[in-house]
Every structure is written in structure tokens, then in C-alpha cells.
Subunit: 341 residues, 4 copies
Amino acid sequence: MLRLGVIGCGYWGPNLVRNFSSIPNATVVAVCDIDPHRLHSIQKEYASVTTTADAASLIARTDIDAVAIATPVSTHFNLALAALRAGKHVLVEKPLTASSDEARRLIDEAAKRKLVLMVDHTFVYSGTVRSVREFISNDYLGDITYYDAVRVNLGLFRHDVNVLWDLAVHDLSIMDYLLAQQPCTVSATGACHAGETENIAYVTVFFENNLIAHVHANWLAPVKIRHTLLGGTLRMIVCNDLEPVEKVKVYDSGIELSEDPDSTRRMRIAYRIGSMWAPPVDDTEALRTEALHFVDCISNGTRPITDGHAGLRVIRILEAATKSIEQQGRPVELDRNGGPS
Amino acid sequence: MLRLGVIGCGYWGPNLVRNFSSIPNATVVAVCDIDPHRLHSIQKEYASVTTTADAASLIARTDIDAVAIATPVSTHFNLALAALRAGKHVLVEKPLTASSDEARRLIDEAAKRKLVLMVDHTFVYSGTVRSVREFISNDYLGDITYYDAVRVNLGLFRHDVNVLWDLAVHDLSIMDYLLAQQPCTVSATGACHAGETENIAYVTVFFENNLIAHVHANWLAPVKIRHTLLGGTLRMIVCNDLEPVEKVKVYDSGIELSEDPDSTRRMRIAYRIGSMWAPPVDDTEALRTEALHFVDCISNGTRPITDGHAGLRVIRILEAATKSIEQQGRPVELDRNGGPS
Amino acid sequence: MLRLGVIGCGYWGPNLVRNFSSIPNATVVAVCDIDPHRLHSIQKEYASVTTTADAASLIARTDIDAVAIATPVSTHFNLALAALRAGKHVLVEKPLTASSDEARRLIDEAAKRKLVLMVDHTFVYSGTVRSVREFISNDYLGDITYYDAVRVNLGLFRHDVNVLWDLAVHDLSIMDYLLAQQPCTVSATGACHAGETENIAYVTVFFENNLIAHVHANWLAPVKIRHTLLGGTLRMIVCNDLEPVEKVKVYDSGIELSEDPDSTRRMRIAYRIGSMWAPPVDDTEALRTEALHFVDCISNGTRPITDGHAGLRVIRILEAATKSIEQQGRPVELDRNGGPS
Amino acid sequence: MLRLGVIGCGYWGPNLVRNFSSIPNATVVAVCDIDPHRLHSIQKEYASVTTTADAASLIARTDIDAVAIATPVSTHFNLALAALRAGKHVLVEKPLTASSDEARRLIDEAAKRKLVLMVDHTFVYSGTVRSVREFISNDYLGDITYYDAVRVNLGLFRHDVNVLWDLAVHDLSIMDYLLAQQPCTVSATGACHAGETENIAYVTVFFENNLIAHVHANWLAPVKIRHTLLGGTLRMIVCNDLEPVEKVKVYDSGIELSEDPDSTRRMRIAYRIGSMWAPPVDDTEALRTEALHFVDCISNGTRPITDGHAGLRVIRILEAATKSIEQQGRPVELDRNGGPS
């Protein structure tokens, strides 16, 4: 039975409490927040949980095995580091930290202490993404040519981070999982229409072999869109996460290249329009699957799918995009050892 | 009665013939193409039209008042210049020419001869775009904050131009008409998965006052999408050109900024979710409206909405985007007098 | 503070417990079910609730003011009658009872004792339906010409009742509320493809003045549809309850009749296609609004919107439809005093 | 080369002229209408066609092999009979005639003279319907359990026929083709909100073995819907004819019955939710396929898919529905030899 403490009970924390409370082999023993109303509300619903406004005291508890952190990004590093140093396994809300340096230090600390460090890239654990991953793994799509994600809606402006670090991070973490390739260069553009942080951003991520990825994130759209296109040389996929069913559609369509008998200089392109297929997708709540995975990794000493390195890879892209967005799209290269060069 | 000659009868030319044949005050007297099958097919349907494989002879005809050109882009300039020099009014398929220099020379020639030079930015004449333009003109949306267009589908790879010059040009011409502002800087990214030209492209266009525009064009998508988001400080618009009805939706939603009593450093952001309204949209074929406008401009000596300057403005953005795309998004500034600096 | 007991904790009961627990001025003090697992699960989440397998003992408790009943239909009458006789206000899941006779006896009993008897026609309390009701009340639609509802999906076959009493009852209760008119005649058809009860049913309800209503209910459809058309002489409404937003769309469309100058025998019909408007709709959970209304009615001694008479009116239609469906659509008249004649 | 005359050039006639003009092995030689404007318009587009206001003279022409009739329903019989008697093959717009008696007389006349008599049940020739037919023929769906069609929109009120004979006829002809079974009983309801003919109608058609079909036709709906559900014991189909692609969706979903170990009295029902599959559908214009089939049948002396008997079968249902609708749904039996008994 994993005994968990949760730090941060704003928007996301209660979902952590709810999911870890409902799975077998885990129990939430303590919750921390600086807002007494939030603690009261948790206490009311989960009678057996201890509440506190002091994160240090929660981390210090010897009857807690793991800590889940759902606080503002700027506090992730210190809280996670303290928890690791106290010998706790740690799950941190996305993005893992506010910088790649911080992420590296957490990775090292966890490695040194043989503790599980996991970043809460929630969507990676959704039925939709896992289903797409399987198609890619089985080479059902052929070579991936592009990944295009749109995540827009009205709302939830944040003052501490811009739309890149808050919204695009979801798609970059999904992309990291699905493509499983190392990006080379990032170009990003955006604008700021209220407050001081970008509320609209466009990020292009270049990979080798002409693979290109693009994310459009927008806090100021009148409609909610969660739409992903994934091109492959054999088949293509469209995901629409807002559909109640048929979230993943696989298209047996594409182009076929052959030599053009009319011209030695160019290729003939033939279109192939085949059938569309929507496989059944597991609709288990992603966070439940993730919570089970966290408990599993701790029990078995295995590395989480979204370990510290996954968190770091996404932060490196965010850092590069942040740099690029300030210069209206100037490309920023990612060196092989991490971070914008 | 305007007497028209049409040069080029591939994909688009027959639409020009059909529309100019069906409006009052115009008649198509001659059609030119190098492919005899195409000419035969036109001849069969329009018995009174003369056909020829020789563009020069069509242009030389003294019984023709105007020439419409729907040939490959690389030939636009020479054909249009010859037609203007022969004293004909000219309508040219988009993009106007293959370079801004060529466009400027056509503009000068037409001005010198007091002839109408019009570029076939078809969508500008659609009921959808005209309806949106009216909302903007009446300041119904407040200040425009962003323009985001997606135009993707499977098909019609072209060998002579990339997806920017073939597909994105539509959205850039709509943007030029709707925003009616001078862009400052362009950043573009893209990739090439078949042949030698980009089949996927992302273009960001920066304007003054934080107005940002973005176009996603893709020839290799499994589904067809024609979707535009338009942000305003008062209201926002979503256009979906594939819907049979309700193509334009106006959202009375947005954010409201006020001073945050809890913090002197930041603004309080309030969300406003109001009703959605889909006005009736004129469903006249855009090319018919455009053909009527061309005839009108010639009759009344007025300047077309999509005159040579509109054509030039769009080409300048395409040239800047082309430069940027080769450098993975490096921003390219547009000087005030035109062209990438 | 209203003290409530809930009888029946299958599919629906827990929603009653949750909603009555979360509103002010009410508290759930006891819950009854014959299944100890269900009671355990409720107990776990609501620590202060008393559980019992004995409905009579719950009803007998003097510290309970009202009883909510969510048991199989066949048991509604006896439980509700016992509760009324014990001086409790009563809320009964739809349909109110298994027959109109039973419904009348409950109405009488409640009236005699001046107790609130309310039927849980949940959808009547949804933002969608209340919004439509307001349009009708304000005569925004003109005279209502037809009401057409489709409620189909795969699943939840029931053995005790057919699709009429389980699914169509929702639309008939919405219809009763929206049209607020007395039906004259019912014709129903249906079929049975598994087990012994109809899984597909079509019900036509005739009113005076050519107003017609139709409900299509189906347990064996591959897709879920919740779609309602409402015709008016001035405007028309389409509701789609599965849309995340824009559930109610008001169309300023219709026909206009005038004398036909070409023919004295017939009217000229002109079509009017205007704009579409989607008003913002309150998305409070319907059952919460209903729970508040129940508490209100008890406090203020007012009659619920969905009182016993509403329950009876719907049952009369269900009885008539049941009779008609057995005779392949033979029309069954409803007399003015209730029940099929 | 089949030489065709077309009688009637209102809404539908020009489509017949266009399609028969564009296929090989057929040519339209003469067109008849009482309105000179319509004839002029046809003449303008098809220079070689002879026009006349006199149907008899067209029918009398010896250089014509076949006649296509697209006039008001009440005139179908006389025109078709005259054409058959003049030795012409005949294609008649739906519904074949205004009564089953008339239909039988045409069938007999054609049989006697060994001429092709075909009814223009256009949708039967669409890629969508042919694709569904193939699934049924290959027993891919298992036993068909129900057929549910919705065909509603705003517009085209007709004075001569009601919505049954004008709109529902489409679905009844599709149903006749797809189910290929003899109906037993019809129950129909409807209402009339303008003029003297029903503008909204609901038709239930009962077959043997619990197969049930239902058509909802409505001229007074604010939105256009073309939606069909087809239930099978193995799989189910949803058709949406307004989708630009994916018009046919096959759902590998259903229920499975087994003996319920908890109860000897009833069956256990298990739900099966599998994948959805949208096969590519031939998008050839249905009328073109039909025109080719008409020419083929004449050339090869074969019986058309939609022969006179198909026309008669549909009319018998329309007659029964007409009878039933007048009596608010009273079931009308169809005897085995045709016609309502």
C-alpha cells in the first residue's frame, strides 16, 4: 500500500487526490495547501486525510512514501528536491520544472537515491494517445511525416506562465511520447493580447528526415478545439479529443510516388483514398492509468514512461520556443546534450 | 457588352468561361490552351466560342476588350504584360505573378495605360468573406487580435509551386482583404515529403499592435479542413467553409481586463461567454460576384478590390515566407515600400 | 434544513444523494437499498448517512421530512403511498407510477395531507429545456406546429419496462412541460428484437390545432442521438443535448403564406431563411436545480413544476402508447378526464 | 446509340438531359415542356436538341427510342402509356404513377410490348445505397432488425402531392431496394400546417420477423437532415448523405443474448462496442449510374433494378400510408397481391 502526500490543491490537486484514493494499493494520507478553504473542502470529502499548510512538514513525515506536487511551476523544483532528499518518490505536475537545469538536478537526485521521479504528462496515459502509439509502434502508419496539434479555447489565462508552458506543453509531451525522436531545431511565434504573457503561440519543431511537428496553442479562442493530424507514408491519423466517441480515426489514404513517364525530372504522384477506421479506444480516465503506473513503477523499481528525462526533453523544447518566440521565429537549435545551444 | 478572351483551360479556366458566359454584359469570345482536348471540350459546350492554341493571336484580336489568364504562375507576367500592351484589361489567376518585381511592372503598365488589372483572389468575393469584412468594418469585433487559418486536404500536389504559392495564397489574400493592414515581419516553416516543393507550410505574419496572423497549409492531410479563427477584443468569429450552412459564426465571447484589487502588478481577467450568432450568408458563387465586379470596374473606370496592389501585397508575403521557410523560420522583415528587405 | 431519506441506490439513487448532499438547506440522513454493496459504497463516501435494507423503517423515521424514491417502477406506488401516509414529502423517479390509477391515488393522498408530491422529470430542470420554455412562453416562436424528439443509443435494455416507459418517458415529460397542452390522441408503433419488451418505439401524439408531436426511442442504435426539432410559425428550434456547447439553436426561418395571385384555389408559400442564434444556456446540473426546487416547494408550500399531475399526464400518454403499440399504431384517444378512453 | 426524348423540364428534367447527354451510347434528341422559357434555356445549352410544347408529337417521333418523363405525378400515367403504346422504352420520375392501378396497367403494357419500363428511384443508384446493399447482400450485418430514415428540410412545398408522395417516397424506394422484403402493414401519422397537404409525416412499415421500418419526412424543418440507421444482429450502419465524405459508417456493435444464469425467465444481454469503419463510397452522380443502367437494360433486354414492379411496390406503401394518415395511424394491411386490402 503506497502512502501518498499531495502538495497543492488548486485546479489539479483534487484530481490527484481523487484518483490515488480510488485505486488499489495506494492511499492519500496527507494534503497540503496554503488556502484553508481548499483544505477544508478536501477534508470534508476525504475524512481520513490529514491536512496542513506546511509543505515541509508533509514532506518530513516518515509514514509517507511518495509525494505528488501540483503547485505553481516556479515552486516545483524546490518542493520536488526536498521530497527526493527526504527519500520520497515524486510525481510532479507538468511542466516538471521551470528550467532544464532544474530538471537535470532532479533527475540526478532521483537517480542517486534510486527513487522514482515522474512527471505528470497526463495525456500520455489517455486511451487515445496510447492507441495512436500502438499504431506507430506496429509501423502501421509507415514513416511519420508530420505531427500537427491544435489546442485552443477561451480561458484560464495564467499570470505565472505563458500559453506555451501551460497549454502547448500538453502537445509537446504527447509528441515526445508518440514520435520518440530527438528534435533538432525549434521556431516559435506568438503574441500577447492581455497581461504580460503570450496567450497565442505557434511552435514548429524540426526533426531529422524532414519530420516536422507543429503546435498551435491559444487561450483566446471562442471555441474549444483539440485536434491532431498525424501523417504517415502508409496511413494517417486524425484525433479529436472532444468527440464523445471515435476520437481516433485512421485513414488508409496517402500518396504514392513513382517515376513519371512524361518527365524524367519529376515524380508522378498518385493519390490513394481508402477507408477510414475508428478503433475502439479505452476510455479509462488518463490520470487513473497514470496513478496506477506510478504505483507500479515504485513497486517494481521500473522507470516510468514519463520519467524525469521525458520532463526534461519537453522543457528543452519549451526553453527553445521561449527564446525563439522573443525573436519572432528565429530558429533555435537543440544540441544533442540538451537545452538550446 | 464586354468581350473576353480566356487563356488557359486547365482546372480553373473552365470556371472563368462558365461564369463570364452566364453574367449579363459579358461574353466569352475566344479561349486559348495548348491542349487540343481541352479546347474541344470547351468548344462542345460553348458553340460560339473561338478556340486557339496561340495566346499571342488571341491577345492580338481587336474584337476583344479583356483577357483572363489562368495558366501556370511562371507564365502570368509575360501573358499579362502582352495583353496590357495590346490595350486589354486583364484578370490574372492568383498569385498575380511569380515575383513582386513582375507584379510592380504589371501595375505600372496598367496604370500608364489606364487599364484594369485585377488579380483573381476568388475567396475575397465569397459571401463568407464579405460577411466577415462587414463585421470588421462596422467595428463589431473591436480591435482584431489574431487571424488563424487552416487549409489542408489530400491532393493536388503541384510541381511548379509549393504549398505556399498554391494554397496559403488563398488565406493570405483573404487576410489582406479582411485585416487591411500592412504586415511588418514574416516567419515561415515547412517541410517537403514528396518531390521538391514544400507540401506543408506554417506562416506567421506579424503586424503592428500585436496583431498576429497564421496560416497552416497542407497538401498531405487525410481530411479536408477550411477553418478560420478571428479574434477581436469585443467579439470573435469562426468560419468553416465546408459547412453547408452556418459558415460564419460570431461569438459574443472574450475577456475583460480590469485592475486586480489583489495585486497592483497585474490585471484581473474576466471571461465573457455570450451567445453565438450565425448570420445568413450570400451563397452566390464567388467567381460570379468577381466576374461582375471585373466588368463593373471596366465599365465605370473604378479600381477593383483585388487590384494589382492587392496581388503585389500578397506576393511580398509569399516571397518573405519563401525566404523564411528556407531558414527554418528566421523572421524576414517587410519594408514599407514593399518586398522583403 | 430539509432532512431527506433516499430509497434505492442503483443507477440513479447515488445522483440524488450527491445532489441533495451538495445543496444548502438539505441533508441526506438515510439511504435504503436491498444490496449491501451499494449501501457500503454510499456509506464510504457519505460518512454521516445511516443505511438500511428496510424501506419501511426508513419511512417510519420521525427525523426525516422527505423521501426520494429511485427503485424499479413497479414499486413506486407502494413506497410513495407509505411515505405520504407517514407524513413525508415525496420525490419519485420517472415514471411516477406503473399506472394512471396509481398516480391518481398518490395525487389524492398528497393533496389530502398537504404534502409535496413531485416526479423526477429531470430534463425539465435542465438549462436547455428551461431556455426553450422561455422562448415559447415569450411567444418568440409563434404558434408551435410540431415537436420531434429522437433519443437513441446502444444499451441499457431493461427487463421490467419497455423503451417507452424507460426512454420515451423523458421526451414525453419534456414535451408536457414545453407544449403545456392537453393531447387528444396517441398512435404508437414499435418492435421487440431481444427479450420480451419493445426496444424501439415511435410515438405520435396529436393535439388540437394540428399540433403534432413525435418521439423516436431506440435501445439498439449504434450511435447516441439526442436531437429535438421544434417548429413554430415564426421561428424554429433545434436542440442537440450531446453538443458540449450550443445545445439550443434558434432559427429565424420559416414559411410565409399569402394569397397566390396565379390561383384562387391555393396559397403562395414564401420561404424565409434568416440567421441562427445559439443563446448561452445555463449548464447547472439539472438534478441540482430540481433538488433546489423540491426543497423550495416544501419550504414555501408551493406546487412543483413537475407535480403529481405532470407525472399523471405523462403516464396517460404512456398507457395510450402501450395500447396502441400492441395494435400496430391504432389511434388511442385520451379523454379529458385522463387515461385512454 | 439510344435516342431519347425528355418530357418535362422543371426542377428535375434538366438533370435528365444533362446526364443522358454526357454518357456514351445515348443522345437527347428532343425535349418537351409547356413553358417556353424552360425550352429556351435548354436549347441555349444543348444546341442540337429539338424542343416542343407538344408531348404527343415528341412521343410520335419515329427517330426516338425512349422517353424520359419528369412531369407532375398526375400526368405520369397518360404520358407513359402513350409512350409505351408508341413503342418507346420509358423512364418515369418517382413516384411511377398516382395510383397502384395505373402502375399495374403500365407494367402490363410494357410487358406485352417487351419494352423497358423503369422508375427513376434515383437514390437506389447512389454509391451510398449501393454500398449498403452490398453489406446486406453479403450478410455482413446479420438479420436486419430495423430501418430508420429521416429526410427533413425547409422547403419546396408542393401543392399537388403531400410530403409522403414527394419526400418519403425516396426513403421508401431505398428501403424497398435494401430490405428486398414484402411489407405486411403500414401505419402513418402526419399534419398539415400550410395549404392542404401534409408537410410532416411519419410512416411505420411492418415486415415479418419483427423487422420494422420508419420514415420521418418533413418540409418544415429549420435544418436539413438526411440520416439513416440500419440495425442488424451482427453490425449496424449509419448513413449521413450530407457528409462530404464518410457517408456510410459501419459499426461493429450490437447486443448478444445468452441465458441468464440468475433467472430462468429472461435472457442476459451483453453489449458489444467494437470499431467503426467507413468504407470508400463511389461518388459518381446517382443519375448518371441510373442513365447508364437504363441504356444497358434496353440494349441487353434485361430488367431494370427499379422496374415497374419496384415502382408499384412503393406506390402500394404510399397508398396505405395515405389511408392510414387520414385515420391518425390506424394500421393498413397490404395484401400479398398488392394494394391496401
